[in-house]
């Protein structure tokens, strides 16, 4: 039996190549898919590097198992490189990944890096790029359909922050905003200001700072100056380690009034951030539908794998890896452009739905070339024309004893 299925898989792959990308030289007998992980292993976002790497590896593992169960000959491997939080470094890391044969790239973490990688290599090579960056700016860049995001853009995160503050502080209160002067913080703070004022709230001050400053005390003083009811902090761990310390030094700071955006979401507060700067603080980060079997299965797999604790956006990275895998199976090719063209037909509304619980079935269905609908750990994917998701589920969490505790989920649109 297994022999027969294998042959069928092989034939499906051959015909797919013949139709979709005639002349491509990949072996029909055995596809060797390389998923590139453009990790934030060092630099300002180095906290998210290790969980993202583990999520990518987990995706490859799950995909390989499903392929084996389905009798498909595709093999998934992971290649990694460090984006360092820097556009230039990210581009050179992306080139390394491409040299190592990556057919799609998960990451990087920031918008400037994503744009640099997009313009520098991936758009030209038709390689799908799956940034964790959530800036709305990525919606409007010319990308030739190569950018897909499994994380929602910041106009939705802004609404999640509004809801979180309303739930825990109240409606119509005063808020001070502080952000690191980068596209992420700039765009999110603007969206938040608009959204918060629309619900009748006030903004006492908006403070932004350059990450390379040598002191943050004056800025911290301004944040706490008018004793606002809440502070919205849109920062990265590297700078919040300094800014948070400066906030505590003002003597007027109350960490329980803090609402952090997703870049400051981690399972455990890093040790370089003073505990007083985040203890009791709230935050939002893209969430996954927690009640589902898929979510439980993912958590179980995560724990069994050992290593770093689960964190925000691991499910999104994981799903991106699975989508890339399914698209390659459906295309019967590891050619980047062929994968790109199949992303929408593995997330098609109305097609048979599959999850990681029955991924081998999904592989069999995808091999036939017919559309399927992969329902991810982070939810259903309905990519808009610009590659953004329509998912809008956010976790509201709180730091207690240095650990992240989920408080509730909010649904925004």
């Amino acid at each position: 039996m297994s022999w027969r299925i294998e042959r069928l898989g092989g034939w499906a792959a051959v015909s797919a190549i013949a139709f979709v990308v005639s002349g491509h030289g990949a072996s029909a007998e055995s596809l060797d898919l390389k998923i590139g992980a453009l990790l934030e292993a060092s630099g300002p976002l180095s906290e998210i590097g290790p969980p993202a790497e583990k999520a990518t590896n987990l995706a490859a593992e799950v995909a390989n198992k499903a392929a084996k169960d389905a009798g498909a000959t595709i093999k998934v491997g992971v290649v990694t490189a460090d984006a360092q939080g820097d556009p230039q470094a990210a581009l050179s890391a992306a080139r390394t990944l491409v040299d190592k044969g990556a057919s799609c790239i998960l990451g990087p973490g920031t918008t400037p890096e994503s744009i640099s990688v997009l313009n520098g290599i991936t758009m030209q090579r038709k390689i799908t790029l799956w940034p964790l960056a959530s800036s709305t700016r990525l919606r409007t860049v010319k990308d030739d359909g190569t950018i897909y995001r499994t994380v929602a853009a910041d106009d939705l995160q802004s609404k999640a922050l509004v809801q979180a503050i309303e739930n825990h502080v109240g409606k119509g209160k005063s808020v001070a905003i502080v952000f690191r002067n980068e596209p992420y913080g700039d765009a999110l703070s603007k969206s938040f200001t608009t959204d918060w004022k629309a619900t009748g709230g006030t903004i006492t001050t908006t403070v932004s700072f350059d990450p390379q400053q040598q002191s943050f005390d004056s800025e911290a003083g301004q944040v706490v100056a008018d004793n606002p009811d809440a502070y919205v902090v849109i920062d990265y761990p590297e700078t919040y380690a300094k800014f948070g310390a400066a906030l505590v030094r003002t003597g007027k700071f109350d960490a329980k009034k803090v609402f952090v955006a997703d870049a400051l979401s981690f399972a455990n507060v890093p040790e370089n951030i003073p505990a007083e700067a985040l203890e009791g603080a709230y935050g939002v980060a893209g969430g996954s539908p927690t009640g589902t079997e898929t979510y439980k299965l993912f958590n179980k797999l995560w724990d069994e794998a050992g290593g770093v604790a689960n964190a925000s956006y691991t499910a999104n990275t994981f799903d991106a890896g699975i989508l890339c895998f399914l698209a390659a199976v459906q295309a019967g090719s590891t050619e980047p452009g062929a994968i790109r063209d199949k992303i929408r037909s593995v997330t098609q509304d109305g097609a048979p739905q599959f999850t990681i619980a029955n991924l081998s079935e999904a592989v069999k269905a995808a091999e036939t070339g017919k559309p399927i609908d992969y329902v991810g750990v982070s939810g259903l994917f309905r990519f808009k024309d610009n590659g953004d998701p329509s998912t809008s589920l956010y976790d509201v969490f709180q730091y207690k004893g240095g650990k992240q505790v989920k408080v509730e989920q909010v649904n925004v649109k």
Partner: protein, 339 residues
Amino acid sequence: MSATPTVRASAAEDDASAVRSRLASPSRLTVLVAVMAVVFCLLAALFGLVPTAQATINGFVAGSYTGLGAIGLTLVLGILKLVNFAHGDLLVAGAYFTILFAWLGLPLPLAMLGAMVATAALALVTEKIVWQPLRQAKAGTLQLFLSAIGLGLVIRFSVQFFAGSQVRTLGANVVDSIALGPLRLGTLQAVALLVGLAAMLLVGLALRFTGIGKEMRAFADNRALAEVSGIDTQHVINMTWIVSGFLAGLAGILYATAIGSFNPNFGLTLLLSLFAATVLGGIGNAYGALVGGLVIGLSQEWSTLMFNARWKPAVGFALLILMLLFMPQGIFGRKKRGS
């Protein structure tokens, strides 16, 4: 004020300008202090005394980091005429030597002291393997300039290689603060401020009164003349590197401790401010480094009262350019003579 009447040589005009610049130097400082005082009063009137005073304290803290970091730079620039782009990375070396020695089991204060000595040794090593050979080969300005940038990269990436590029902390308590009425000053920042000021004062005094200090100044002024006076110039050069490295180590440690969180790139991000303080204060002058650092620190922090803090670096450097238009030699700088 005219030149000595017995001489009608061509040097007369030159002499008069020398006299002027001598006289102008203390008054430049006085004018500067007066301007700062007026600005303070204006800001206090416009934005309230407490916020202005708090910004002033913050400015002193930021200025002391910059000033202390700049002393070693200004000494090397003034005495050896070398634009040491690797200086920021010597600060980084100081912070990471501390981590290394602490990891080897030394208590933190000892680790810090050891780190300063190690940074001084590193600076001396760079003299022996890079600068001395380059000087003997009569390398030009551009070659020295590029070598300094290259050396900085080598130091930075060596640190990254051995220590990794992730964010580090020296584990000091960065959240404690001292309340001065309604004003606040971080405890560690106060320590950094005091140690910084003390170190600058000590270096200034040592340059003025010790034998080696005078020899350094003589060397800076005219190398050939220093040599015919029997000054061992290589000894002066070695001492300059040792002092510069030691102070860079100290500055790196204080900055890393007080800011609380750093990675191997912090020297590079500080370097521009260090150069600004050096140039503004007057090249080669330890007090100049202090005053230059304080002017930059205060103007940046004061600017946060008026503008969003995101413009802080731009405001600081715009002011630097403006001040250099009025005093191109810097606050303590002396007009260069053609001798």
